[in-house]
Amino acid sequence: MSVRTIKLKIDGKEVTAQEADTILEVARENEIFIPTLCYLEGLTSLGGCRLCLVEVKGSPKLFPACSTAVSNRMEVITNSDSLMEYRRMIVELLLSERTHICAVCVANDSCELQEMATELGTDHVRFNRKWTNHKIDSSHENLVLDPNRCILCTRCIRVCDEVEGVHTLDLKMRGKDSQVIIDLDEPWGASNSCTSCMKCAAVCPVGAIYIKGKALSETKDKELPEFVLGRRCR
């Protein structure tokens, strides 16, 4: 089966793409920046963070670039004023959802949420911030799970399932009460399924899952996608 090459416009720039590609893939190939948080190359797309929403000419709806396939003669706008405003507000919402205090966070300076706020110009939070008091699980020999810093992007769950093939991690509850859990909500240290591959820590964009005794800046693999696609953690 041959894949058709098609033409489309992103932010006015004429680009060519393969038919099955997503808008995000095509944009990145052409060095057009679309912010993402829950997306990670090599994992299935979630479409949950809504940062990669783009406008497509002719449709009143917004589309997640990470999971929308390109089509011929599509005209995509990635940076309209209203999109930028939405993105800033979404980062604001994430910062106010749980206990995010950069100064005391293991991920400080190596945090994708922090970077995103800087990048998009979210300089203050207009909403009441919620200080959560979820239990921290540090029962694992090397890994810590701190739900208070989690943004529920589910990268850890997906990498555990799709790459490591274990599915130790999953979600419990719903909505604002959603939480990443180990096995059937058991202490991580008691998990029989966890292979301690530490991929979850490597893909966590914030400081919710981290390796004990190390700041995230020391442990984070800069070549994430390559890592996710194959190479095993040290």
């Binding site: 479409g47 929308t68 919402l93 529920l152």
Partner: protein, 550 residues
């Protein structure tokens, strides 16, 4: 069984039905059961024996006639005498006077012309008239004749064309043209194909789909069969919430009976068409009614929506083409096949043909289940069918479309009930809930109530809905505590807009409707809460006052 056998069965049962001089229909659906409908039914059965009128009077257990505020409700045919609030004692009296002496008990009869006059019962054609536990009852009123017509006289494409011509649109809320959808699924490559009937009616105060399933389960099954024939599907699922035990029981029986007459499973009516249906019970999540969430749930995963495209029509259950329809949409299908698409397209308004079932609740004299032709004015629904506001109170607002419907003020009451008009005014057709509020309702409190519901029901997958709604809720809590600021209102609008535009699924996209419409039409109430710290309806600040008194 062959088609002819079904036709013979229909004739036989119709003759049996006609052999009775009287028929007593006792509503035993979820609305009347809590009032003791089963005891009433038992009493009727005993009484006809006692008065020796068994031969001429049939006592039938039926579904809902819609007047849920009068339960238990009993209808005596011929003449459709509607008896209200029937007790076992009254049941005995009805048999003694009405059946044996032919003298209807005038003082017990409910005569409300307007409640029924402006309604048009197509989907609920059999509700309250047939015994949902007897497939013969359905068949004798013309049931499964549309399926027979499809199998013997029509090609699948002709069926789709007929549905397209009818102008029928999805009754689940979005109003997508049904014929289009069928064409998409029929043309989508891949097999097997699936039909999913959506009966996950999770809205508080909405009970239209439940009533349909309890009163006329075979209409849903026949609709599914015709849809499956048209699109070439082999398997079907009815996704129903576990909180509907009677509807589940009714559907289970109906499926079993249909299978025993070779109307389901195997070679249907000895043709080459095969179709089976399974029930799937939802475990209590509002979001599971969203079409992609339903698919996830049926596949055994967490009921969370996913981005579309790909649409279920091309990639649904297990990646195969899947047709998802609300049960009300499906129940319309046999009528369209029997009477023709052109007939159906003349009912209702030009762009919205047919009828819509609504659960009419709140501050109206006649709450219940109604079915109205599309295009009727909201005022007629509230004041004619609903009978207006009880206790001499004044009308304030009507919320259309379930928890994420908009709250409309009095000057919009002449709005016609159709998808476009409602959406333009900030409401939605939704799953069919109409809640009427009088002057004692506080609109700020109302908006908060529905926001709380959506916060609890958000699946948490996307940020705007999961976090944004919580922030809306927090803002309301502040206002109701007397800590509101005028700036809150601008932020509420911005947040509402964000959630509407950027949420992943319909739940999030419509969740801010109550907030945005109350801000649009009742801003003065917000202002008086914030500036004067007063609630005109006297709902809010009460605990505040009590606290200060202490």
């Amino acid at each position: 069984m062959k088609p002819d056998d079904i036709i013979k069965l229909a004739e036989r049962d119709l003759n049996l039905r006609r052999s009775y001089k009287y028929r007593i229909n006792v509503c035993c659906s979820s609305g009347c059961l809590p009032f003791g409908a089963l005891k009433v039914l038992k009493e009727f059965q005993d009484a006809v024996k006692e008065f020796a009128v068994e031969e001429e009077c049939k006592v039938a257990r039926t579904g809902c006639v819609g007047t849920c505020y009068l339960g238990p409700v009993v209808v005596v045919e011929p003449g459709d005498y509607l008896y209200q609030n029937v007790t076992p004692e009254k049941a005995r009296e009805i048999v003694r006077e009405h059946i044996t002496k032919g003298a209807p008990l005038k003082n017990l009869i409910y005569s409300n012309e307007t409640f029924f006059k402006k309604q048009l019962r197509l989907v609920l054609r059999n509700a309250g008239k047939i015994d949902p536990f007897r497939i013969e009852d359905y068949i004798s009123t013309g049931g499964y004749s549309a399926l027979i017509k499809c199998l013997t006289k029509m090609s699948p494409q002709e069926v789709i064309d007929e549905v397209s011509a009818s102008g029928l649109r999805g009754r689940g809320g979005a109003g997508f043209p049904t014929g289009h959808k069928w064409n998409f699924v029929a043309r989508a490559p891949g097999s097997p194909k699936y039909v999913v009937a959506n009966l996950d009616e999770g809205d508080p105060g909405v009970f239209a789909n439940r009533t349909l399933a309890e009163a006329d389960p075979h209409a849903i099954i026949e609709g599914m069969l015709i849809a499956a024939y048209a699109i070439g599907a082999e398997h079907g699922y009815i996704y129903i919430r576990a909180e509907y035990p009677l509807a589940i029981q009714t559907l289970k029986r109906a499926m079993k009976q249909a299978a025993s007459l070779s109307l389901l499973e195997g070679d249907i009516l000895e043709s080459s068409f095969k179709f089976d249906v399974k029930l799937r019970l939802g475990a209590g999540a509002f979001v599971a009614g969203e079409e992609t969430a339903i698919l996830a749930s049926i596949e055994g995963r967490r009921a969370t929506p996913r981005p579309r495209p790909p649409y279920p029509a091309t990639s649904g259950l297990w990646g195969k083409p899947t047709l998802i329809q609300n049960v009300e949409t499906l129940a319309n299908v046999p009528l369209i096949i029997n009477n023709g698409g052109a007939w159906f397209s003349r009912i209702g308004s030009p762009r919205c043909s047919g009828t819509k079932c609504f659960s009419l609740t709140g501050k109206v004299k006649n709450p219940g289940l109604i079915e109205i032709p599309m295009g009727i004015a909201l005022r007629e629904v509230v004041f004619d069918i609903g009978g207006g506001i009880p206790d001499g109170k004044k009308f304030k607002s009507v919320q259309v479309g379930g928890p994420s419907g908009g709250c409309l003020p009095e000057d919009l009451l002449d709005l016609s009930v159709d998808y476009e008009s409602l959406t333009k005014a900030g409401a939605i057709m939704g799953s069919g809930g109409i809640v009427v509020m009088d002057e004692t309702s506080c609109m700020v409190d109302t908006a908060k109530f529905f926001t709380d519901f959506c916060v609890d029901e958000s699946c948490g997958k996307c940020v705007p809905c999961r976090v944004g709604l919580v922030k809306v809720k927090n803002t309301f809590e502040g206002i109701i505590r007397g800590e509101g600021k005028v700036e809150n209102l601008a932020l509420l609008k911005k947040l509402g807009n964000l959630i509407q535009e950027t949420s992943l699924c319909g739940l999030g996209q419509t969740a801010p409707n109550p907030v945005l419409t109350t801000l649009r039409y009742f801003e003065d109430e917000y202002i008086s809460h914030i500036i004067e710290k007063k609630c005109r309806a006297g709902k809010c600040f009460t605990s505040h006052k009590e606290a200060s008194r202490k």
